[in-house]
Symmetry: D3
Subunit: 144 residues, 6 copies
């Protein structure tokens, strides 16, 4: 059941979202991934941007709810890291500017573990005024 | 007030905790930092391990409460990313094995912004059985 | 003070919202109740639909704040079961389609316990796309 | 993708935990399930009791982490309904006496949706004094 | 239904816990109240101390669960103000030293609103080291 | 590091917001403060009203993000006391009418502790119907 040290999906997703030059490492493993940006005071727009990218780039299958369900919870978990307490943006007068990555692969040694999804977020959070912000990071991982 | 692209304290802390070979980059900026490990089902032990390391390595001043207060909230925010919903470990039957880094520096272009602290966590969270776990990440940033 | 096995208000409310054929059992006890439906991405609309039904069908008295206060908290508690973590719908890009029941009665053996209110919810929660959803349930109980 | 009206796993799990006479309906579908009881001020003991039952009765496979992961999150979601705000028991001076059911099956019309798990909880929550309690309910659903 | 300006139970409870010289104002209204102190890293001990005081000084009736239920939720709400995010103390390595007051009375102009309970808390929260702490306040109000 | 009994910033802020006649006590200490009112179902408007007042009355410096950051977290902490569980207003169908005070000063015996900010809130929370409301209080304290 152990995690494989060469296939730590969370670490690779986070490195990939922090530094684009790392993305070829993810490709080498034969894993699917997509990257994008989302900036908004509306938390639902950030969720939608990530879901749309993951579907249009075929990271998850559109016609199967279990895949959407898995991704949704991974996004929400990553959002906890970014928002740190309340999964809210505009309603508490703050906004985000985020890069995101969605990675799909099996990080475990056993084949039976199947595919997992990792959503990593990196960017800024703060008042809706340029400069009044600091960095924020989130990572969500789920079995698909 | 803008963040300096060369001194993104959250990104550097996260890269440093994910990959030790990145630590010299933090030193080059003249910033203080310390790294360590903490594994436990007792959430308070993880908090204590980080606080103790940061104090014994003089990242924060022991005799000034405002510094302890700043670090404590940064730790709690990083914990939100790791725990994603409830800042609890053993009480919901899960355990963590984490590497941590505490970095102190000014990530803004203006000197007047003074020192900030970043706490980055990376490791695993899961059932108290080896292998029944996935990765988790957290980042907390606060002004000192 | 013990709960009466024949008057378990939470169980009866839940059975009533899951299966209409159970409603006469609630009537037999001489308890007041109302049922309805609410579907929305706006969480406040769901709260409003339940409050309006309970008031217009005289489950609670409109002119007494303590009754509204009691119902409101029972609704919010039921919402925790449906939302499981964040009492939010549209702001995290999800919608619900719910049946609800509000039951008023004394589930305890002692008369002095007076009236209590139970709010039970049953339906689906998911993405704002038909089929991308699973079931959800909530129950809130409060003294009136 | 739609839910099948004859195989609403959440409704069936909840009916089964409320009323034992309903259990044969679940068996008819060929679904696996297990029932049990857990009473404690220690929230981790309740989680452990459900996990242990589900594993020893082969509802989920012990050797595959993704199955444990799926069950764990379903348990935590069901706990939200029972605890309604803080997933805590003894630390906020309250205790539970719960019946639980774990059901595994596919509630969707499409075969490709695969297995899902539903955890339903019903019982009482209150002060650690007999009688000072009311009923509580929770339901968690996850893809396996 | 309006609140009476002369009987603002929350304001009076808070003033009473901040400044003992204000307590006779509460007595003048013929309201019951009790005051006490509780200091601990164990959140349940703080809850227990308030409940015990309120029962032994007959602010609430011991034999009626609805009164205990009402008080419990008022205490938990007051705790939210003190803990600001997670209703936890020792598990996140912090401790409190609190004065508390429990006041029972009708703050509304209408007699039909009956009795309400207000729990006000004032003191310090911080690390389990003298001086590493700041002030904290909480107020919970519920109908009895 | 100890708090000074003559300069308990949280107590003074709370007394000041409960009773205007107390404000000269704060002035005597040479501390800056501002008071105001905010009533809304939009939580972000309440946050904005407090931030705007604190900036326009020079309690915090507009050009330094660390000061805005400190105030923001103090406001959010005070909001936890008012909202007691979910930092939400309109989305859960409730509204507030609040008086607020922002106080800046050093409540500790040591000069090195520097300035801290206290945000105290007092008013009513309830349904968006006059009279259907009770009192609420919140206090947030942060180092600047």
């Amino acid at each position: 059941m152990a995690l494989s040290n060469e296939r730590l999906i969370g670490k690779m997703a986070m490195l990939g979202v922090l530094d684009e030059s790392y993305l070829p490492e993810i490709e080498k493993l034969g894993w699917k991934y997509c990257v994008g940006k989302a900036g908004s005071m509306d938390s639902q727009k950030v969720v939608a941007a990530i879901e749309t990218a993951a579907k249009s780039e075929n990271i998850i299958q559109t016609g199967i709810y279990r895949e959407t369900h898995s991704l949704y919870h991974a996004i929400m978990e990553a959002f906890h890291g970014v928002t740190r307490g309340q999964v809210q943006l505009g309603t508490v007068l703050r906004t985000v500017g985020l890069r995101f990555i969605v990675v799909r692969g099996n990080p475990y040694e056993k084949k039976e573990e199947g595919d997992w999804v990792a959503v990593a977020l990196y960017g800024t959070i703060g008042a809706p005024v340029k400069g009044l912000e600091h960095e924020a990071i989130g990572l969500g991982i789920n079995h698909i």
